[in-house]
């Protein structure tokens, strides 16, 4: 039961402005992911929410209460660190019960609560071990357990999965999503990995250079990025950008001239954009399609066969484009390919990098993660 609100938060170290005025609202029980390249200020922002770092200006409100001057222990938050930050000389049980021990909770009560959390995380057999006798994934779970025991109003995760190997990361990702449902808690999660952001978030906050680039649902950011940065950052492999020219625009969309000279119409509202200018066409690798009659042509530089899919890196003019194709395509390196794109999935960006609004909103753009599952009372009917 907690909401968080940031109002014009800034943070400066001497003359370096790390956070330049961030406004954000986090609703109750929401899973919010801060994502951005390294150095974008996402960790600093989280540390300010946690109270480990003070804000230079602005307000931090938790449940409507201003928390700027409240110490980290009294904000009702719990944080899971990237390095786990387990106390190496304490057993798992003592690690998890440390906050209660400091608060003077009796030993029996402490054990009861630790067992409760250990049960959720399947840590019961490990309670007497020291952290160094645990694997990376187990340490991660202990760190989460330490947070759960505190019964916080908001969980903070600072890149918690980046020290795990790929397989374990997938597993922990699922476990975290499950935990979010089970605990019904508000969670804020920092990562540089856009896959983690896409899979777990109800709301993604894309940060760059200390500023919020866009806030939205994963599908919203994927289908309607506000600018070129968000478009490139969300989605993997990265979106392709192709320089095009605007020929005309009407109610049906914008007509553009592609590098090969052919024109196509895309369903995008060009009314805000002065006609005749240079634009950039953004198409994701999965929306570029190999097509003998396609309007564009390029030479394959690299082929990556993943089995189910093949990534083609195609040189067209100065730009190297990525095309996700079927796993069975018979092309080889240095082959020439023709390709097109699905026009309703295309994006257009103006000279400032801002995207032109699409004519139709994507049906899934407003989807929240909870909406993926059927309401619990209808299950089995």
């Amino acid at each position: 039961m907690a909401t968080l609100e940031l109002k014009q938060i800034t943070k400066s170290f001497d003359d370096t402005h790390v956070i330049k005025g961030v406004d954000l609202e986090v609703n109750d029980r929401e899973f919010v992911v801060f994502v951005g390249p390294s150095g974008c200020g996402k960790s600093t922002l989280m540390r300010m929410i946690a109270g480990l770092e003070s804000a230079t200006s602005g307000d931090i409100l938790i449940d409507g209460q201003r928390m700027n001057e409240v110490g980290p222990a009294d904000r009702g938050l719990a944080m899971v660190f990237q390095s786990y930050a387990l106390y190496p000389h304490m057993t798992v049980e003592d690690n998890m019960g440390f906050s209660m021990r400091l608060a003077g909770v009796s030993k029996d009560k402490r054990r009861e609560k630790v067992l409760e959390a250990a049960k959720i995380l399947q840590l019961e057999p490990l309670l007497d071990r020291k952290p160094k006798a645990l694997s990376g994934g187990q340490r991660q779970r202990v760190a989460i357990g330490r947070a759960i025991v505190r019964n916080p109003s908001i969980f903070l995760f600072d890149e918690p999965l980046s020290n795990l190997d790929a397989a374990l990361r997938v597993q922990m990702r699922i476990e975290l999503a499950r935990l979010h449902e089970e605990l019904d808690a508000t969670m804020i999660y920092v990562t540089h990995d856009q896959i983690e952001a896409m899979t777990m978030a109800d709301k993604i906050v894309v940060l760059q250079g200390g500023e919020v680039e866009q806030v939205g649902s994963p599908m919203g950011l994927y289908h309607h990025p506000r600018n070129r940065f968000v478009a490139g950052f969300i989605g993997s492999p990265k979106m392709n950008f192709i320089a095009v020219e605007q020929v005309s625009s009407d109610a049906e969309g914008v007509t553009i001239k592609l590098p090969g000279g052919e024109t196509r119409q895309v369903p995008i509202d060009g009314s805000g954009h002065a006609g005749g200018g240079a634009l950039e066409l953004g198409v994701r690798p999965e929306h570029l399609v190999l097509d003998e009659q396609g309007p564009m042509e390029g030479r394959i530089q690299v082929l990556e066969r993943l089995g189910g899919q093949t990534s083609l890196y195609v040189q067209m003019g100065d730009s190297l484009l990525t095309i996700m194709a079927d796993g069975d395509v018979a092309y080889r390196v240095n082959d020439s390919v023709r390709f097109g794109f699905s026009s309703d999935r295309a994006h257009l960006f103006d000279a400032e990098g801002l995207s032109l609004p699409k004519l139709h909103r994507h049906p899934l753009a407003g989807l929240r993660r909870q909406d993926n599952r059927a309401p619990s009372d209808t299950v089995g009917q």
């Binding site: 946690a50 480990l52 110490g71 980290p72 222990a73 009294d74 938050l77 719990a78 944080m79 660190f81 990237q82 390095s83 786990y84 930050a85 387990l86 106390y87 190496p88 000389h89 440390f98 906050s99 400091l102 608060a103 330490r146 505190r150």
Partner: protein, 316 residues
């Protein structure tokens, strides 16, 4: 080349035997094969002689009638020297003094060193300079620092401490005659505190900052962080400090020689100084050697306990 091959070839059967032994040993310790042993031998032999010759001579002298003031009295004495030594109250007094000195200096340096390490870990203006200043007493020669303390700090007439006492209206203290052991302990602790600080400060820097922050999130204040996070983290470094200091503190000599000469009476005579008195003031080499053997045994007992403790600590 052919000459170099002779030795290994000659030791082949033996090597095989040793290898077989290695396989069957389950204790986890392996002994080097003969081939490597022959290469280690010169260094090992040298070190062994380095250790065994003085030790054997000390033991031998301790069994002799050997007093430079009585050149006529020589010959095998049996355990006579030891008998005199152990019935001499000076030995027990010296042992007590040794323990008191080592114990108190350890307490002062470890407790003070830990607190100073915490202090110097904080960020403040001029921290680098302050650290160097705090560590510098360690680089002063023991004789020099003892002289400085004797003549400039603790001197009853000219000393800084008596000036402070006087300006506060208190009577000046004649440190070396009224509090001799305390004075020596203060001087030695002043010298060794920087050592403890240096080791503990280095250990302190390896403390994971995330742990401290996690503890802060868990509601730990500065004092709780010190006892629950910092101190357990420093445990290993503290045991190293204790071990190294103890080895050196058992043999304090220069500070005593320069300041009190073991006095008044035997008040500041430790084992090392007692051996010096017997050998070079009484010229009783036999008796001094017996004292030396006792000191070796004592140091070894301490060392065995300490090495075990530290080794256990380093493992965990």
């Amino acid at each position: 080349m052919s000459a170099g091959r002779v030795t290994p070839a000659g030791s082949f059967p033996a090597t095989f035997m040793v290898t077989d032994m290695n396989k069957t040993r389950t204790s986890g310790r392996t002994i080097g094969g003969l081939r490597t042993l022959s290469l280690q031998a010169p260094a090992v032999t040298l070190l062994f002689l380095w250790m065994i010759v003085p030790l054997a001579m000390t033991v031998w002298f301790s069994l002799q009638r050997y007093n430079l003031l009585m050149p006529g009295m020589t010959g095998f004495a049996g355990l006579e020297n030891y008998e005199y030594l152990f019935t001499d109250p000076a030995l027990w007094s010296a042992m007590g003094t040794t323990l008191l000195m080592v114990g108190w200096v350890l307490v002062i340096t470890v407790v003070g060193g830990t607190l100073l390490a915490v202090l110097f870990q904080q960020d403040f203006m001029g921290r680098g300079i302050a650290r160097v200043l705090a560590i510098s007493p360690f680089f002063v020669m023991p004789t020099v620092s003892a002289l400085v303390w004797k003549n400039m700090m603790m001197h009853p007439a000219n000393g800084v401490l008596s000036w402070v006492a006087e300006s506060l209206g208190l009577p000046a203290v004649d440190w070396f005659s009224s509090l001799p052991l305390t004075s020596v302990i203060i001087i030695v602790a002043w010298q060794w505190l920087p050592f403890a600080l240096l080791i503990l400060l280095t250990a302190m820097q390896s403390l994971d900052e995330d742990q401290v922050e996690a503890a802060r999130m868990d509601g730990a204040g500065p004092i709780a962080i010190f006892f629950f996070i910092t101190l357990p983290h420093l445990k290993r470094a503290i045991s190293v400090v204790i071990m190294i200091e103890m080895i050196f503190l058992l043999t304090i000599f220069a500070e005593i020689f320069v300041t009190t000469s073991g006095g008044p009476g035997l008040a500041t005579t430790n084992l090392a100084y007692l051996i010096y008195i017997r050998a070079l003031l009484d010229f009783d080499v036999g008796m001094a050697s017996a004292g030396g053997v006792v000191a070796i045994i004592l140091a070894n007992i301490v060392a065995i306990f300490l090495v075990r403790m530290v080794a256990k600590n380093l493992e965990s």
